[in-house]
Amino acid sequence: MPTYTMRVFRGDARRGDFREYHVETAEGMVVLDVIHRIQATQAHDLACRWNCKAGKCGSCSAEINGKPRLMCMTRMDTLAEGAPITVAPIRTFPLIRDLVTDVSYNYEKAKTVPPLRLKPPDPDGRYRMMQEDIDRIQEFHKCIECFLCQDVCHVIRDHDLKRQFAGPRFFIKIAALDMHPLDTRNRTEFAAREAGIGLCNITTCCTEVCPEGIHITDNGIIPMKERRADDYDPIVWLLRKFRGQRPEPA
């Protein structure tokens, strides 16, 4: 069975460093299995957050060989055996200990997004929507809130513009609400002024790291930028005049 050299970050926000562990692996193991084996056999106090081990809870986010990934979805046999494998905490958020970070920034941002405001129900008191109306936003509902997109986004990661910028996870949340067939709010002003969508330069790292394969940039951020551009497009303005006004601002 192959033996891997794992370089795992150990420490807290004040000080820390990478420590090497040699681990024998079995067929089908993922990085999270290896971290658990290190916990069980070599470093009982190694802190790591995990839950489902099936790529659905979004807890075990880390940076494996520098790439933001879920530890439970990264098979060891996809990593080169000869060189050490680095496992670091996601670097954008405050470190609690070892591989565990405090992602509460995201929960604070979530509170700022204007919720759904339903249009009046049909005369029989029911709400109806067709499948084609919600296909588009169901993609965004696959989000497991692993926050890898937030971690890799250079606006937050390198420029630390956390106050001005909501980040890719919340742009798809805003898009899902704005495109909702029963919603009556217009969130383009919010996306621009409060969420800072203009700070995004669409370099698509968020899409590249998404473990759910959500097309965050193409289907969420760019359509929201385009909806914002609608506000300044005289042709769209004319068409709106013919078809009736857009919903009230958020």
Binding site: R15, T92, D158, P181, P223, E226
Partner: protein, 262 residues
């Protein structure tokens, strides 16, 4: 929120921990885009060898000034003459349109922000420059990409007309290798233009309730499938437009002979 912002991140000094060849793709983009810019500028400055019956180079279409070798609209505008450079090549009256379309394209923005501006050069590789995104002049203007798309549609129409004229040889109807080259080029350019994100939005993406806008929904679905291949069309059409000009240039110079198929 302030508590969340004030806490400290992992004390890792390295700019990145990636072990793969993350630099290869941005480097390739720099080389290819630079080569295209150099070639297209050189070709536009030549003001010659852009037309050989019945082929017109896409760099010079539509040909709209009096000195054009092949007037697209039958009549031409007066030539633009400047003190040092003399008569301005008609290519410069044209290339700004498709140039702006590519410059503001969402896909090319990603490509050059990463490769030329290094913002960021690759995912999870530290970007240390000051940064305001697309919130200030001139990058704020990127948000008007859809206007350049309106222009690009006009150019696709013109190039389609040129491709139709490419069947009209001096001795009558015919098909040459150049005809096929021009049709491949206009097909790829149309693929690039109509797979554009702005096109997808304008033609249907702006709708919230698709079940009440059936035609726009069908158009949006078709354009979404095209849009998934937007990067591929972006590169293929860039190569094809350069190679079409090169082919016509070499035929016009007599370096190669255009083979008649029919």
């Amino acid at each position: 929120m302030s508590r969340v912002l004030s806490e400290r991140r992992p004390p890792i000094a390295a700019a990145h921990l990636r072990t793969d060849a993350w630099w290869a793709l941005p480097l390739a983009v720099v080389v290819v885009l630079s080569a295209f810019i150099v070639y297209s500028t050189w070709a536009a400055l030549q003001n010659a060898h852009y037309f050989v019956p019945p082929y017109l180079s896409p760099f010079y279409s539509p040909c709209i000034t009096e000195s054009c070798l092949h007037l697209s609209f039958g009549v031409g505008l007066a030539d633009f003459t400047f003190p040092v450079v003399g008569v301005l090549s008609p290519a410069f009256l044209i290339l700004w349109g498709p140039g702006l379309f590519r410059l503001t394209c969402y896909y090319y923005r990603k490509a050059y922000y990463r490769s030329f501006w290094l913002a960021p050069v690759a995912c999870a590789v530290r970007d240390v420059k000051s940064y305001t995104g697309e919130t200030r002049f001139p990058l704020f203007l990127q948000n008007f990409h859809r206007y350049t798309w309106y222009l690009a549609v006009f150019f696709v129409v013109m190039l389609t007309w040129d491709a139709i004229l490419a069947f009209r040889f001096p001795d009558g109807f015919g098909i040459g290798v150049g005809t096929l080259v021009m049709w491949v080029n206009v097909t790829l350019l149309a693929g690039y233009t109509f797979s554009c994100h702005s096109c997808r939005h304008v033609c249907g993406g702006h709708v919230d309730v698709f079940s009440e806008a059936e035609t726009r929904y069908k158009v949006w679905r078709f354009l979404t499938r095209l849009n998934e291949r937007h990067p591929m069309y972006a590169w293929l059409s860039l190569f094809s437009v350069g190679l079409t000009d090169l082919y016509i240039r070499l035929v016009s110079m007599g370096v190669i002979r255009d083979l008649r198929i029919l």
